[in-house]
Point group: C2
Chain length 450, copies 2
């Protein structure tokens, strides 16, 4: 292999201690999802190109697969790498519908690929965690509340900074615009979505020019979009704008139920808001929508989002409505790891290094390691029978907290952080629970504890 | 989304219950590797094409990535999908050497991609589990024993049929051929490797024609290749062939140490053999080599393999020797799942379905679920307030063993397999340990238990 290796821009790779953090985050998310009865699936990373490329913005970011040397096979299907987990999930549901029970509750944690310009929080390969419920023909609204509450709980258990779930409802917006009499409701939604890039007056102008609104209608659209409260008081504030519409009523009731359902329990660091300017660009949302923001990392834009789609998938005869939410594992973790907000406590699983007195006695050290492993203590045997001082430094460099010595007087284990050394039996000794496995060290936790 | 979804040949996808089996296998492998102090890494799935394509057999199977629409960027690096986990690991070691401690012990469980013709056990996307130890400049031989023993232990813990580790040593073969005076040792190794496809006499002919051996030398090469024993008695058998050579001596001692080291403990279903015809085609092995076979699935050829490479990676100044072994997770599991040898006990994590008496009382059912989850019981709330009989059938169809009812007389939980229904407190009730999570059901286990 040749010299000079440079990182590939947009394809971040984690060193062992950081990877331990990512694994713990993924394990924690999975634990919560499974406690709520969501089953894990993985889809293949490729899809037929015609399923991915739908003429949208994303198309130019799709990676296409080709064989280096095309063999005798002529008509190999054109394949592309999936750019999210929703498109492959929809295809999975259609392909395997006969073998699934509906409502089908699944979570999926996999990398996705987008050929976009790399920047902080934006990568070409990055991991997403999606949780969705999909029904056959129908999917009761209470599943909206359920799936959002699951993600609130899952993220509340993570060692990350405070997160804010900002909810809205497409029916609420559409009903309001319709009740108000805005001529082009779709254009209006698309225009209001620009509020985070353009000033209010500019958006008002666009509502007039692009959506056919009167200046007074535009003003009330903006008034709606400025409503942002941590409880259900938005209902009265919207009513005060004087618009009545059946769809608006439905949207208000749904959004209130989501806010109430997600606020029910005490949370550690996740808060919930109704934010009536959240629209989410994608056209297929039809009810609940959500975006998730991380405290101090507003520059990343949302670190997650999702909503209700009345037609996640359809095979012509059967329609599959769904509701789900996605969390950007790489998008949030990689900046936190880079900033030192999160770190792994050590780069190796080993809690103990078994010292080797001489190469002849390596089998005895192996036997001690086997005894420790038999009751679940991760450990490794020193690579060389160097002087004990050097073996201790080996443990130090690897972040291993304990070194095990065997001498004429029997077994002893040393905590190399304190220097304390005690007699120990390999059949029963275990480190304190906190030392057993690598942990996630969170700067915010440390600060809170001070 | 359109109709008519057909599976993509070579890209198998697992239904939820089968995926639960795969997850448990991956978790079990990870547990063993971590108990032995191996740290997990993941590498990005793409590598620069010039690092993957080295003019070998594999080149024509490499998938190359291209953007659907090339944008303004002109000189995007040519990227290919990795076809194993060794090439990316070697690159990872070179790229991050300054941040790693050597010997670096890592495991890696990821999919790889090969555009080969799909057949049983051969897929275009498949998951491998690799465990390796890599040193800087030097790597003591005892690590060969260590890494092989770790994989023996890891596979012994899996719910799969009996597995056989068949070991050999390149030094042994090379030293034997050299001591025997075979002119072209490399050609001889390559020829002997054909013994599983060609009869002995044909291989003997090729040894004469391609490796320049005399008929008598060819006969002794074949005699060496037929030695296959479950212990270290091969040493005497080789000595009896009357060849002496320093490298042969080294190889014999190493192979004996590996066989002894891997046989030391009692195993459930993994056996170990010295099989002196194992050569492994790849040229970079320099000592220990191993192939792993699965009982009753010899048609899959090996389900794993690996060995020692004195130059896993090099940056010109520093060389990184390594030793490792890879297990084909998909290659072994997918046929076992297809044949019903392995199955998941249920397709959902939920152990309990909380019945809903009426939609009005759904929040009460939610509260029961929350109480169960708080002490680690995975559960879900019934999707509709149908008649109880229908809710029980919902649980049945999903494979959920318990249904929770709340009535005027308090809480009761029913084991729907036995019909037994008992009073229960949501704050403390838990199912028997065996029912808590989906399990791997192994037909071989069942047969053994009968």
């Amino acid at each position: 292999m040749s010299a000079k290796i440079r990182p590939l821009s947009g394809f971040p790779e984690l060193l062992p201690a950081a990877r331990a953090v990512e694994r713990e985050v993924i394990a924690s998310l999975s634990r919560t999802f499974e406690l709520h009865g969501f089953t894990n699936i993985e889809t293949r990373v490729v899809e037929p190109l015609d399923r991915l490329a739908k003429g949208g913005e994303i198309d130019k970011e799709i990676y296409v697969l080709q064989r280096l040397q095309q063999g005798g096979e002529t008509s190999e299907a054109e394949l592309g790498m999936h750019f999210d987990l929703t498109v492959p999930f929809a295809r999975y549901v259609l392909e395997h519908a006969g073998h699934l029970e509906f409502p089908f509750r699944r979570f999926q944690i996999q990398p996705v690929w987008r050929g976009e310009r790399p920047q902080e929080g934006r990568y070409r390969q990055f991991t997403q965690a999606d949780v969705d419920i999909v029904g056959r023909d129908v999917l009761d609204f209470h599943h909206d509340v359920e799936v959002m509450r699951v993600m609130v709980e899952a993220l509340d258990a993570l060692p990350v900074p405070a997160l804010s779930f900002q909810f809205n409802n497409r029916k609420l917006i559409q009903g309001f615009y319709r009740g108000l009499g805005v001529p082009d409701v779709t254009a209006a939604i698309r225009t209001i979505d620009k509020l985070d890039k353009l000033p209010g007056e500019k958006v008002a102008e666009l509502l007039v020019s692009d959506a056919g609104a009167t200046p007074e209608q535009a003003e009330r659209c903006l008034a709606l979009a400025t409503i942002r409260v941590p409880d259900t008081s938005f209902v009265e504030q919207v009513r005060a704008l004087g618009v009545t519409d059946d769809l608006l009523d439905e949207g208000l009731a749904e959004l209130a139920a989501v806010i109430e359902g997600c606020s029910a329990a005490e949370r550690r660091h996740v808060s919930v808001e109704a934010n009536l300017r959240i629209a989410r660009g994608l056209d297929y949302y039809t009810g609940t929508v959500v975006e998730i923001f991380m405290d101090g990392y507003e520059r990343l834009k949302s670190v997650g989002g999702g909503g209700r789609y009345d037609a996640l998938a359809s095979d012509g005869r059967t329609t599959y409505p769904g509701v789900g939410v996605s969390f950007g594992v790489s998008r949030s973790l990689i900046p936190l790891l880079a900033d030192g907000v999160l770190a792994g406590s050590r780069p190796v699983p080993s809690a103990v290094l078994i010292a080797v007195t001489s190469e002849d006695s390596r089998p005895e050290s192996d036997a001690i390691a086997a005894a420790l492993r038999a009751h679940g203590v991760p450990c490794e045997v020193a690579p060389t029978a160097a002087k004990f001082g050097k073996q201790i430094r080996t443990a130090e460099r690897r972040g291993i907290p304990y070194v095990w010595f065997t001498g004429e007087t029997g077994h002893q284990v040393k905590d190399i952080r304190t220097g304390e050394q005690v007699d120990a039996d390999p059949a029963t000794w275990a480190p304190p629970h906190d030392d057993l496995r690598p942990k996630v060290v969170s700067r915010t936790d440390q600060e809170q504890n001070q």
